[in-house]
């Protein structure tokens, strides 16, 4: 029953692009999402580590979570990777989740 393998996708993003990512996640087919404000340190000036200028940053980020089927999780990660990883501070990971009300999310 491949339908029971759900994935929790967690995305940490710098605040400027959070709304965009939420819109993308919904457009790609996620049935719901939740978001939180957190604090972290990250590399904001993208590019190679030896590029000139300051790189480290600290401040608030937005955490976006969505529980989706495994295929969609992959699609979301691929999209983030293609659209944001180069220039923006975005960190994402996937974990397994067993959801209640499974029927609603198939």
């Amino acid at each position: 029953m491949p339908d029971t393998r759900f994935s929790l996708v967690v995305i940490l993003a710098e605040p400027e692009i959070a709304d965009r990512i939420v819109a993308d996640v919904k457009r790609l087919g996620a049935r719901g999402y939740s978001r939180y404000e957190g604090f972290s340190e990250w590399r904001r000036g993208r590019g190679p580590d030896d590029a000139p200028g300051p790189h480290d940053w600290e401040g608030t980020h937005v955490r976006i979570e969505t529980v989706v089927r495994a295929e969609l999780a992959t699609t979301i990660l691929d999209h983030l990777s293609a659209s944001y990883f180069r220039h923006y501070a975005v960190f994402a990971y996937v974990a397994d989740a067993t959801i209640a009300r499974r029927d609603k999310y198939l």
Partner: protein, 320 residues
């Protein structure tokens, strides 16, 4: 009052001292922290308050009075990005995108620096014209558009549209322009009812905000070394040049001494709210480490401590 007196008055104002206390708090690794919502609330309050006040003043201003100052402000905002961009590319060796990003910041304006300038010239007994907040609102956008267009030279700048929407519907323009419109529509009589909230406690609220901003700015101090000597020098020289140009323009078009000093401050100030948000979206490959460190950790404190007295002094000098 000689320059030193002006400096003392500026440096020893509760506002500047609160900024210094904030810097100190960060350097001492104090556990003092302004929660994000408090920062947001204070900035909403300050922007709306300045808009309302300006709007109420606009209601008794003729179109003729404000036409020239408005044009002068827009002209300054449009001109500054060009020389900034050129200087950073040719003299500083910056890439097109980083240079354009910095041009957007220095051409646009900092509302907090403006607010501090208003309070400062008032404390000197040379208040600025009441409509200056309208000039502030007009100066926020043009430089950003021009700078994004300049960046095209280097590479195709997508997202100009998004970035523009970001600035125009962004909270700083919305509150400022919205406040102006509300103050204008409600008029001085409507303003009376909200004065005890939006006007009397204003300077004190500004102190709190600057305390917080001092902590934020000090977080970037460690990056000052990484931005390189050229940018450090630029972050001091650019406000001096732009400030002098602004004061001179104010004097030329017949503003009061206080108005000239404030126009100078507007030109001298670098945006650190509207411009960063727009630039992050429209020029993602620009390094925020450059433009935020320069505007927030260098130019802002410089203007607050040394710039305001200098522009005020220059304005007095020109106005005789």
């Amino acid at each position: 009052m000689d320059p030193l007196d002006l400096l003392r008055l500026g440096v020893l104002s509760p506002m500047t001292l609160c900024f210094a206390l904030g810097v100190l708090a960060t350097l001492l690794r104090s556990d003092l922290k302004f929660p994000e919502p408090v920062y947001t609330a204070l900035s909403i309050y300050l922007l709306l308050a300045i808009g309302l006040k300006g709007g109420a003043a606009l209601a008794t201003t003729s179109a003729g009075e404000i036409a020239l100052p408005a044009l002068a402000g827009i002209a300054l905002g449009a001109a500054i990005p060009f020389w900034v961009y050129a200087a950073l590319r040719r003299l500083g060796g910056f890439g097109a995108v980083d240079a354009a990003a910095l041009a957007a910041h220095y051409g646009s304006v900092s509302a907090v620096t403006f607010i501090a300038a208003l309070s400062y010239v008032q404390s000197l007994g040379m208040p600025a014209e009441g409509f200056m907040p309208a000039v502030l609102a007009l100066m926020e956008v043009p430089a950003i558009v021009i700078a994004l267009l300049l960046a095209r030279e280097g590479r195709s700048a997508d997202g100009l549209g998004t970035a523009l929407h970001e600035v125009l519907a962004g909270r700083s323009i919305l509150l400022l322009a919205g406040g102006l419109a509300i103050g204008f529509a409600a008029g001085p009589r409507g303003y009376e009812a909200v004065r005890p909230f939006f006007s009397d406690p204003f300077q004190g609220a500004l102190c709190l905000f600057l305390l917080d901003l001092g902590m934020v700015a000090a977080l970037r101090f460690k990056d000052v070394r990484a931005v390189g000597r050229f940018l450090v020098a630029f972050a001091i020289v650019a406000p001096l040049v732009n400030g002098a140009a602004g004061v001179a323009a104010g004097w030329a078009i017949g503003l009061s001494p206080g108005g000239s000093a404030v126009l100078g401050t507007l030109a001298a100030s670098a945006s650190y709210i509207a411009a960063p948000a727009a630039v992050r979206l429209a020029l993602p490959s620009a390094n925020p480490g450059y433009y935020l460190t320069a505007s927030l950790a260098l130019t802002f404190p410089f203007n607050l401590v040394a710039g305001l007295p200098l522009y005020a002094w220059f304005a007095r000098f020109l106005h005789g």
